[in-house]
């Protein structure tokens, strides 16, 4: 089964950061439709800080890479998404040291992250938040424990993207969009889109690397 070293994990996540920074305007536009239009700015701010940290540090464990990403986002982003998206990565802090990133360890990190996200934000599936993309993606990972990381991520991407599509169907229950009630139906959630882009970037990194 494919494994990434700490350094390779770091490189993959720098690639993720670059991809999300590029999505800035698109994410602002989505947020603008039912939110306040700043999601892309926050995500770009966060992943710029992430890049800076990852580019200037070396790490002993995979956990520390993820934790440092989370702390960089928490310190730089602010907003609802600063807490929420940093939590996604900070979950790694509660796990025993991991020397490699593989399907199992990535799954455990992101499952812990999901717990933190839900503890902070109190959102459940169907509330039209990033959880709607994130939780299905984690479940897909859990159901792919026998697959390579690339294959596991592929199903996570599909699950996340499906989750994004579904956010169109219900009104928001959290974040600024919740005050729109039914007016938010028909528009996807910005944070869910970001989650799907994060999974997609990890997958693209691996598939390019492996081919």
């Amino acid at each position: 089964m494919e494994q990434l070293t700490v350094q390779e994990t770091q490189a993959m996540l720098i690639f993720v950061a670059d991809n999300l920074i590029e999505a800035k305007e698109m994410l602002c536009e989505i947020d603008g439709k039912i939110g306040d239009g700043d999601h892309g700015f926050g995500i770009a701010r966060g992943f710029n800080a992430v890049k800076e940290t990852l580019n200037s540090n070396t790490y002993a464990t995979v956990n520390n890479v993820f934790k440092d990403i989370g702390m960089s986002m928490l310190r730089s982003m602010g907003g609802a998404s600063g807490v929420i998206f940093s939590s996604m990565f900070l979950g790694a802090g509660t796990l025993p040291d991991l020397a490699k990133l593989n399907t199992e360890s990535l799954t455990s990190i992101l499952r812990e992250g999901l717990k933190k996200v839900k503890a902070q934000g109190k959102a459940k599936m169907g509330d039209k938040t990033m959880v709607d993309a994130y939780e299905p993606a984690v479940i897909a990972l859990e159901q792919s424990q026998d697959s390579t990381l690339e294959t596991a991520l592929k199903s996570a991407v599909l699950a996340a993207e499906d989750g994004v599509r579904k956010t169109k169907e219900y009104p928001a229950k959290h974040g600024r969009a919740k005050f729109l009630y039914d007016r938010s139906i028909g528009i996807e959630d910005a944070g869910a889109t970001t989650v799907s882009l994060i999974f997609k970037a990890m997958y693209n990194y691996l598939s390019t690397k492996n081919s």
């Binding site: 306040d36 239009g37 700015f41 701010r45 928490l74 907003g79 600063g82 807490v83 729109l180």
Partner: protein, 333 residues
């Protein structure tokens, strides 16, 4: 929308620098983060800390001053500050009496202030939080705790700041904040959208329409309506406020007519004229009125009306002097 800025990423810090330079006699920047505190320190009082996204000026930093708040933590435009920024402001403004954070009830703000309080707890600081939930349009009656916090923050900061200045304990100051919040309601409308620095307007409003129930982030309101005479719009808002606050003849209130940005004082005065007419008809006594730009959504044209019902305690606190760069009260009128 064209703006007078340099780099988009520098907007908040440069603006804060300008604010501190202009008010250097009374205010100072918090080292390393986007925050500001009062210079003259009274170490015997509870400190009041505000915070939230930028783009609502003079809220939050402009309400820091004598008789009002002691510090403000600033996030990026329309984004709550991060926990570290909030923590540093709390620590810089901290006194032995503890700190009360007044937090407007948006997810980002409550989460970041929540984490900051947690961090402060690790350092054995006494930090309490009171939520501001004055925006009637954001959740129905019965779910008041779900409501957003908007311009009513001005009133809540006024009486809470006065209580702190008078030497109330942290628990007492918090009680005042909670009572003031319970007795304060706001409703707002918007005529135009606003745009984040470096972005296009984040929504549109038809040339003959207005948005009813706007928040303060340019997020769409709960209803789009056909534009009508100011008096009719005001009537709709006042009916909502009086009803939700269960105001009755003989009650005494403070009123805030707030521009969300581009709406002029010329218009705000017309709005208040109708507010005064309507409240007078119901024998509700306006004890004091503030008209101006207090809690804005960048350059959005629009108005919000806030009412705080005054009991004897709130009224006497309201009357205490206050001097900040964008709000003053000379004391007993």
């Amino acid at each position: 929308m064209k703006k007078l800025i340099n780099e988009v990423d520098d907007v908040v810090l440069e603006s804060l620098d300008g604010f501190v330079a202009a008010n250097h006699r009374t205010h100072q920047k918090v080292n390393g983060v986007n925050g500001v505190i009062r210079k003259a320190e009274n170490n015997k009082k509870v400190s009041i800390v505000l915070g939230g996204g930028s783009g609502h000026e003079p809220v939050f930093l402009g309400l820091v001053g004598e008789g009002m708040a002691d510090g403000a933590a600033l996030g990026s435009v329309f984004a709550s500050p991060d926990p570290q920024t909030i923590l540093e402001v709390i620590k810089s403004a901290y006194t032995d009496e503890g700190t009360l954070c007044l937090v407007i009830n948006y997810a980002g703000d409550t989460m970041n202030f929540g984490m900051a309080s947690e961090l402060a707890g690790y350092e054995d600081l006494k930090v309490e939080t009171a939520l501001v939930t004055d925006d009637v349009a954001s959740a129905p009656k019965g779910q008041e705790d779900e409501r957003r916090g908007v311009a009513g923050l001005l009133f809540i900061t006024k009486v809470t700041g006065a209580a702190a200045e008078k030497g109330y304990s942290l628990a007492e100051v918090k009680q005042i904040a909670e009572k003031a919040n319970r007795l304060t309601r706001t409703m707002g409308i918007a005529l135009t959208p606003c745009s984040l620095p470096g972005s296009k307007p984040n929504f549109t409003i038809g040339e003959d329409e207005y948005e009813f129930g706007m928040g303060i982030h340019g997020e769409p309101g709960i209803k789009t309506k056909k534009l009508k005479a100011a008096d009719e719009i005001v009537t709709e808002i006042i009916e909502g406020l009086v009803d939700d606050l269960v105001l009755q003849g003989g009650d005494e209130v403070a009123v805030l007519v707030n521009s969300t940005g581009a709406t002029t004082i010329l218009e705000l005065n017309i709005v208040f004229r109708q507010v005064a007419n309507l409240l007078k008809k119901q024998n509700i006594h306006i004890y004091d009125t503030n008209i101006g730009s207090f809690c804005t959504s960048l350059e959005m044209a629009g108005v919000s009306i806030s009412i705080m019902k005054l009991d004897n305690e709130l009224k006497s606190l309201y009357n205490e002097p206050a001097y900040t760069p964008y709000f003053y009260r000379k004391g007993n009128a």
